[in-house]
């Protein structure tokens, strides 16, 4: 039985989990990107795309739904794993692109760490919003301390 937390804490923890996952996967992919690209081109590039836009979203989507279930005592899900993860990924990569374009700062470990804290709340809400409507096991329950 999950502990009931304040909504703000629930959102922050939710966001933290999602952003850490996003940053970690992004850093991992950046590190091994050229290894992918050098492998039997363009097969390596195709595998990289599959990893980036198929596998990664599924991981994120599953993670988001698990967190929703654990934190908010939900059951089921409103949209599929992949779409949920893809939405979170595309939102995150769009933010990185905006930062890189307008501030000239490409994604890196430092940027990722800052993003984990800055984007925790927004991504907490986003994670909740993106799969809204997952049914609570006990609709009467309200978050308390």
């Amino acid at each position: 039985m999950p502990r009931t937390l304040k909504l703000s804490k629930q959102v922050f923890i939710h966001g933290l989990v999602i952003t850490i996952a996003l940053v970690a996967i992004q850093l991992l992919l950046d590190v091994c990107q050229n290894a992918f690209l050098l492998y039997m081109p363009p097969i390596g590039f195709a595998i990289f795309l599959v990893t980036m836009f198929a596998i990664q979203p599924i991981i994120l989507g599953v993670l988001n739904i698990i967190v929703l279930h654990r934190l908010y005592n939900c059951e089921g899900w409103q949209i599929g794993f992949w779409l949920n993860g893809f939405f979170l990924l595309i939102f995150f990569s769009t933010i990185n692109l905006l930062i890189q374009t307008s501030a000239g700062v490409p994604f890196s470990l430092g940027v990722g760490i800052v993003e984990v804290f800055l984007l925790a709340y927004p991504f907490g809400y986003l994670g909740k919003f993106s799969n809204r409507g997952c049914k609570s096991r006990n609709p009467q329950q309200t978050p308390t301390t």
Partner: protein, 803 residues
């Protein structure tokens, strides 16, 4: 009393009325007399005067040009052997030098201030600025050349007539470069005769002459494709008609001058035909009042009227823009520009607004300088919109100013007269493609002023209304469908009313539906993907995001296509425009040090050394190690950048050096890199990649380890839009700076090319790239070149303001 007073008043009134009436009648009479007898002569411009005349002994003048120094050059045939056929005079007609070259029918001045003589026998002779022969070649025709011109890309087009076996006359046309290599040639068989040729604004040309007994005009594009060909028949089919001369008109059309037989005339009479840019006749005027005469040469005047040479009376005649005669001026000479010679280029406007006529008598040639028309003050029309660029709308405001009171305004769009307008208006329903526009204004004296021709393009616009409208309809339909499925619950809302339905909690309840929410998230994903695709381009294109990093604009110059004497001037011109880098091919012959290729490379590098220009050398995939070694030994120290291989990611064809596999590309790169390294040069190394690197990403990753920066080629509008994403990706995988090594678009539309290049320069500068090099300065076999086109000047202006 009242009556008396009334009568008295009436008499006074009668008296006053009769005097008043007489005065008014007198004034009216004077006004009418003035209007009838004075007004026309005031409206018509006065004839100009002859400023000077000169005689050139022993020459039959066939062509005259005003030279870059304001003087004149006359070319023609020697009336006796050994006489000069090319004469250069100063601006007052004093002979500066003369040369006995071949009998020329036409003459032109080249960009290096030399001259090109087009000879009757098909020879083309190139001289320097002093008339010394530099080179000559034959067109391989059996004589009959009529006229030659130089196009804006520096090539020559020569036209003439020959006779086939069987006696049939045909017209021919050859486009050649300065070395005589033929780009394309055409024959017009079946009774065509060509008399004159002019350049057109799209780098094509127009030919005028005759088809059988009819006038004939044809329009060709820069590749020799016939755009249209029209013949103009008048009167009886057996009545002959001949074109002697042609001029381009300010509205983009053509005016033909010649002669023809008219049923009511006793013999040949002069004839004018005005043709629009699409080949449709606007008017034709037989001048039956001048029997046994012709119009042998024609120029258009500043007010869109015409000046024609009338050899029968040795005079010139002035006509307004509709062909109505205004005045005639005798030239007091025994003959003038005989139609039996080569009259097409014997009558030219001069830089001071006057005119120059060159003609011949039996024993010598003469030059007559005619002053500008003093009374002609044509309205000056300036168009401020549209500009020479690409628009993404089919409705463009037409905004212009006229320096004075205009009694009539009109415009011509794509050669079609669009009728009268009252002022600024909007051009609506413009089709996608290139358009040309002129605006004309007529003042109260009947003089017509015409604006410069504006070339603009309407580009295909992204159908955002359809896309967004379609998405909105799809969402509305989906939601309606879902609501229909939930009609039972809706029934409750219906009972409770629409206001209740629109409440937040009820709307939230609808979004609990799994399909509705999926639709919302998919829509958001689409929006974010669009942002990722287009935000970088939109952001960097904005002038407010300007980077202050140094930005080098360069250009690729194929100097091996130019003559030795052209190269220095071209390099100097490139420098004057503000380019910092010249990118060139590796051109040399290691087996023969005295080979011409080595000579021109020497000339080129000497010029860049003197003028302080940076050089980027392209080592192409097919260059041999011997040539690379020879070139780097000889000119390596003059290089700022060396490009190893050209687009290895797409070089999978034999003509591009055939790097089919990654192993081939890699080993070729290693081989060239090793040769370059041996020379220990200070030049920075780079390789340029096309957008196809996306599927061969291993090449930039592997090569960049040995490179100082990587190049990227952009040659399409869609690629320009996506280029920020691609450049960022290339930077990411290579960890190197990116320079745009080839940037340009293959188009013969100057406005589109200029627009594209300026957009790209702004984008790449704002991205903080180190440079952008354009392709090509000169390109004779495709439409990438910018030399001699308006793009050249626009890029120069951009560099002056931005780089």
């Amino acid at each position: 009393m009242q009556v008396k007073l009334g009568m008295s008043s009436l008499k006074c009134y009668r008296f006053a009325y009769s005097r008043f009436t007489r005065n008014i009648a007198t004034l009216l009479f004077i006004a009418i007399v003035l209007f009838v007898f004075v007004s026309p002569s005031a409206a018509a411009p006065d004839p100009p005067s002859i400023e000077w005349r000169k005689t050139l002994v022993g020459l039959q003048a066939n062509s005259v040009i005003q030279t870059s120094d304001g003087g004149y050059a006359i070319a023609g045939a020697a009336l006796s052997s050994g006489e000069a056929t090319l004469v250069k005079t100063d601006s007052s007609g004093n002979v500066q030098w003369q040369k006995a070259l071949g009998d020329a029918v036409s003459l032109a001045q080249t960009s290096d201030y030399g001259y090109v003589l087009f000879c009757e026998n098909g020879d083309v002779v190139k001289t320097d600025a002093e008339g010394n022969v530099l080179s000559s070649f034959s067109l391989g025709v059996s004589g009959g050349a009529r006229q030659g011109i130089i196009t804006s890309d520096g090539t020559y087009i020569v036209v003439g007539n020959s006779i086939r076996e069987g006696g049939e006359t045909y017209a021919w046309l050859r486009k050649v470069d300065a070395q005589g290599n033929i780009f394309w040639d055409m024959n017009f068989t079946g009774g065509f005769r060509v008399s004159a040729i002019v350049n057109t604004v799209d780098r094509g040309c127009a030919l005028a002459g005759n088809w059988k007994n009819n006038f004939w005009l044809a329009r060709l594009d820069s590749n020799g494709n016939q755009q249209w060909s029209q013949n103009y028949a008048y009167g009886d089919p057996l009545d002959p008609h001949f074109v002697y001369s042609m001029a381009k008109t300010k509205d983009g059309g053509f005016i033909l001058a010649g002669t023809g037989r008219w049923q009511s005339s006793n013999g040949m009479i002069p004839w004018l035909i005005k043709i629009n840019s699409q080949g449709y006749e606007q008017f034709n005027l037989p001048y039956g009042q001048y029997p046994d005469d012709s119009f042998s040469a024609i120029v258009q005047t500043a007010d869109a009227g015409y000046l024609v040479a009338k050899p029968g009376t040795a005079s010139i005649m002035r006509a307004d823009s509709s062909g109505s005669e205004l005045w005639q001026m005798p030239l007091d000479t025994s003959a003038i520009i005989s139609p039996s010679g080569y009259p097409a280029s014997c009558f030219i406007p001069t830089k001071d607004g006057g005119y120059m006529i060159a003609g011949s008598t039996l024993a010598n040639a003469f030059m007559i300088k005619i002053s500008p028309e003093a009374d002609v003050q044509t309205p000056v029309v300036t168009i401020s919109s549209p500009k020479s660029k690409t628009y993404e709308t089919s409705n463009i405001p037409l905004t212009f100013t006229v320096n004075g009171q205009a009694t009539w305004l009109g415009y011509t769009l794509d050669g079609q007269q669009a009728g009268a307008i009252t002022g600024n208006t909007t051009l609506t329903g413009l089709t996608v493609g290139a358009h040309n526009l002129t605006v004309s204004a007529r003042d109260s004296t009947g003089l017509v002023g015409t604006s410069e021709t504006i070339l603009f393009t309407v580009g295909a616009r992204f159908p955002s209304e359809i896309v967004f409208g379609g998405v909105a309809i799809a969402i509305a339909a989906s939601v309606s469908f879902l609501l229909y499925l939930k009609r039972r619950s809706l029934y409750d809302y219906k009972n409770r009313g629409l206001k209740s339905f629109m409440k937040k909690q009820n709307l939230v309840e609808i979004t609990q539906n799994r399909m509705v929410w999926t639709l919302i998230i998919i829509s958001l994903c689409f929006i974010l993907v669009f942002v990722q695709f287009f935000f970088p381009y939109v952001y960097y294109s904005s002038s407010s995001t300007r980077s202050n990093a140094p930005f080098e604009v360069g250009v690729t110059y194929v100097y091996e296509r130019d003559n030795v004497d052209q190269i220095y001037n071209e390099v100097n011109h490139i420098k004057d425009l503000g380019f910092k880098v010249i990118r060139v091919n590796l051109v040399c012959d290691s087996n023969n040090p005295s080979d011409y290729l080595n000579t021109i490379s020497d000339v080129f590098f000497s010029a860049t050394r003197q003028l302080g220009m940076k050089v980027a050398l392209i080592i192409n995939n097919h260059n041999t190690p011997e040539d690379i070694n020879y070139h780097l030994s000889k000119w390596g120290k003059d290089l700022a950048y060396i490009q190893i291989l050209n687009e290895p990611d797409v070089a999978s064809s034999w003509d591009m050096g055939a790097l089919f596999t990654d192993d081939e590309a890699g080993s070729k790169f290693e081989e060239i890199y090793a040769i370059v390294e041996q020379h220990q040069l200070s030049a920075q190394l780079y390789t340029n990649f096309s957008p196809a690197f996306i599927v061969r990403t291993n090449l930039p990753i592997q090569f960049s380890e040995n490179l100082n920066f990587v190049g990227f080629d952009v040659f399409m509008d869609s690629l320009l839009t996506l280029s920020p994403n691609m450049i960022q990706f290339l930077q990411k995988i290579t960890n190197k700076d990116v320079v745009i090594a080839e940037f340009g678009m293959s188009t013969n539309n100057d406005a589109t090319q200029s627009d594209y290049i300026i957009k790209g320069l702004n984008l790449f500068r704002n991205m903080g790239l180190k440079g952008c090099w354009l392709v090509y300065w000169n390109s004779a076999d495709n439409d990438y070149g910018i030399r001699g086109r308006s793009t050249e000047q626009k890029v120069g202006e951009w560099i002056a303001q931005n780089a």
